[in-house]
């Protein structure tokens, strides 16, 4: 939120009267109607549905008529095991993907900013999956994770390990999708961390080296604290993405086996398909509350130091 604090205030004040006489009365070179087209689209297709969702989540609804049923939808959401599973899975998925992205992204960024060969190649190849379609990635990994003749388990077998049944094992299904999500998304975390690490002045590392600090020490005492804005960004971004995640889960397991890998977003879709519009909307409200309840305090906490500067 860097508002322009360019050295212009005095200059503008000098110019303002002169410019003002030239202008017609009351018209600014920055008219408010520039907001209008964007505001109309944004209001109609984002704000109105968001507010309406709070209302319709208390109803039984078929898009044309509704009956008010109070908190029934929410009660159902927290009582029915299939729906409750989606709720807990959302937390697990968000936590697993974002923590793995933070750790792996940081390590890869440190590696890619150190002096090793083939940095350009490594960076491109790690980032490329970010641009792939989730559906395509999902299908490819569904095949690779095939429990019987998938490549991953065959590779594990050659070194004497017995791989899990991945997507068909209820205990592994959600985790498998989360791992693919990390595979696809770690490149973004890495480039964000690289931007953060590159902006740390090199003198700090040199001074630390003079004082005899090992590279591990300077990582924990220089890189980690000074890359804090990057960490904040990676955590917030991957949590927002992880909690709302739908595409990859839908392409790989459709919430299965049973409903063991359902998340809220897939529950919303299933209820919508089944025609329970009120319940589906209640799912949206629950997701909204979860995301804001986690992201808002977290981002104030993570960005605290930046504000103090």
């Amino acid at each position: 939120m860097t508002l322009n604090t360019a050295p212009t205030p005095s200059a503008v004040r000098h110019l303002a009267p002169a410019a003002h006489t030239k202008r017609r009365k009351g018209s600014s070179p920055y008219p408010y109607w520039f907001y209008l087209p964007a505001a109309v689209i944004y209001t109609a297709l984002f704000l109105v549905p968001t507010f309406a969702s709070f209302f319709f989540s208390f109803t039984r609804w078929n898009l044309t008529e509704f009956t008010f049923i109070g908190l029934d939808n929410f009660v159902q959401f927290f009582q029915e095991p299939a729906l409750l599973k989606g709720l807990t899975n959302t937390f697990i998925y968000g936590l697993v993907t974002s923590s793995l992205k933070v750790v792996l992204g940081m390590l890869l960024a440190v590696l890619l900013t150190s002096r090793i060969i083939a940095r350009g190649y490594l960076r491109s190849v790690i980032f490329f999956p970010v641009l792939l379609s989730s559906i395509g990635v999902g299908i490819v990994f569904t095949v690779l994770m095939d429990p019987r003749n998938g490549m991953i388990n065959e590779a594990l077998a050659t070194v004497g390990l017995k791989g899990p049944a991945w997507l068909t094992d209820p205990a592994w299904a959600l985790l498998s999708v989360a791992l693919v999500d990390v595979w696809k998304g770690v490149g973004l975390a890495t480039v964000i961390y690289i931007a953060g690490i590159v902006s740390i002045p090199q003198e700090y590392f040199e001074a630390a080296k003079m004082d005899g600090a090992t590279s591990i020490k300077s990582f924990f005492n220089i890189t980690l604290p000074l890359a804090r804005p990057a960490t904040a960004t990676v955590i917030i971004l991957s949590l927002i993405g992880g909690l709302r995640s739908f595409d990859l889960i839908w392409a790989m397991t459709k919430g299965g086996p049973g409903f063991t890998s359902d998340v809220i977003a897939s529950v919303i879709y299933k209820q919508y398909q089944a025609g329970f519009y009120g319940l589906s909307t209640a799912g949206n409200v629950v997701l909204f509350l979860i995301v804001t309840a986690i992201i808002l305090p977290l981002s104030t906490f993570l960005n605290r130091k930046e504000v103090e500067q």
Binding site: N4, P29, F46, R115, F128, L131, V140, L188, V191, I268
Partner: protein, 276 residues
């Protein structure tokens, strides 16, 4: 001397790991796409004995009455139209927001952040679309993509506009420029580099979008490429070569984008992210 050895050792180790983790799955996709049906069904990472690129290619394109061709046309229209609208509208908002300080700024900033964080409410959005007659239409989906992409684009533009000196506006105003001319003739051309960034980042995102077409544009007639791929998945369970050829084809546009605009994509994604 030791550092040089380490440089190579760590580098080679990293290359080996990335080849296994990233290159092999991608190569597996390409190889399976050019195999014949029997060989592809084995799901093995082998060199195809029987190259079938052309045959698989034509078969995928002609499947279900050239569905994939229709889908590519639809996706292209969707991407081009929504990115064009996004660029113009977001730049207009960002410019006024950055230049003019008023009580609206707080509201606008709040709304932009909300747009980044809040998951869109699906069924109520369908309800709105239906009541204005745009549900299950391409224009409706275009407006949806615009609405959901605005926040991110405004943020990118605003950060960039902050670096354009305000004196430029003043000079243009003194020369008698009205707001519309000032924006479209003076400011807009100066935004070129950030416009390129917005275009590539957003077009990859919209081209790859699956969830919104699934909800707001169902039906075979106006399927997008991601939807078509998803439907092929259940249809082609025995034809892995065709399924993977489909994946390969829809991977090409983002790949070409990445080849040419590597720097802008990375810059856009990290800049937008860091500001958030």
């Amino acid at each position: 001397m030791i550092t040089a050895v380490r440089r190579y050792a760590v580098g080679i180790l990293a290359i080996a790991v990335t080849v296994v983790v990233f290159i092999v799955p991608l190569l597996f996709m390409v190889l399976t796409a050019v195999k014949d049906r029997k060989e592809a069904a084995k799901l093995e990472f082998t060199w195809p004995t029987n190259f079938q690129f052309v045959e698989n290619f034509t078969q995928v394109l002609s499947a279900r009455k050239f569905m994939l061709v229709t889908a590519f046309i639809n996706s292209t229209i969707l991407t081009v139209a929504s990115v064009t609208i996004l660029v113009v509208l977001a730049a207009m908002v960002a410019w006024v927001l950055q230049r003019r300080r008023s009580r609206w700024n707080g509201v606008a900033n709040f709304l932009i952040l909300s747009g980044l964080i809040i998951p869109p409410a699906i069924v109520p959005t369908i309800w709105v679309l239906q009541s204005i007659g745009l549900f299950k239409t391409l224009p409706g989906l275009i407006l949806i993509e615009v609405a959901f992409g605005l926040s991110f684009c405004v943020m990118l533009f605003r950060a960039f506009i902050a670096s354009i000196p305000k004196e430029l506006d003043e000079a243009a105003v003194i020369d008698g420029c009205g707001p519309v001319r000032l924006f479209f003739r003076v400011i807009f051309p100066l935004l070129r580099s950030v416009i390129v960034t917005v275009i590539v980042v957003q077009s990859v995102a919209i081209f790859n979008d699956f969830q919104h077409p699934l909800y707001f544009l169902p039906g075979d007639a106006n399927a997008t490429v991601q939807l078509t791929l998803f439907n092929f998945q259940s249809q082609f369970t025995t034809n892995y070569n065709l399924l993977f050829m489909n994946i390969l084809l829809i991977t090409i546009p983002p790949f070409v984008m990445y080849l040419f605009f590597n720097r802008q994509i990375v810059a856009g994604m990290t800049a937008g992210a860091v500001k958030g």
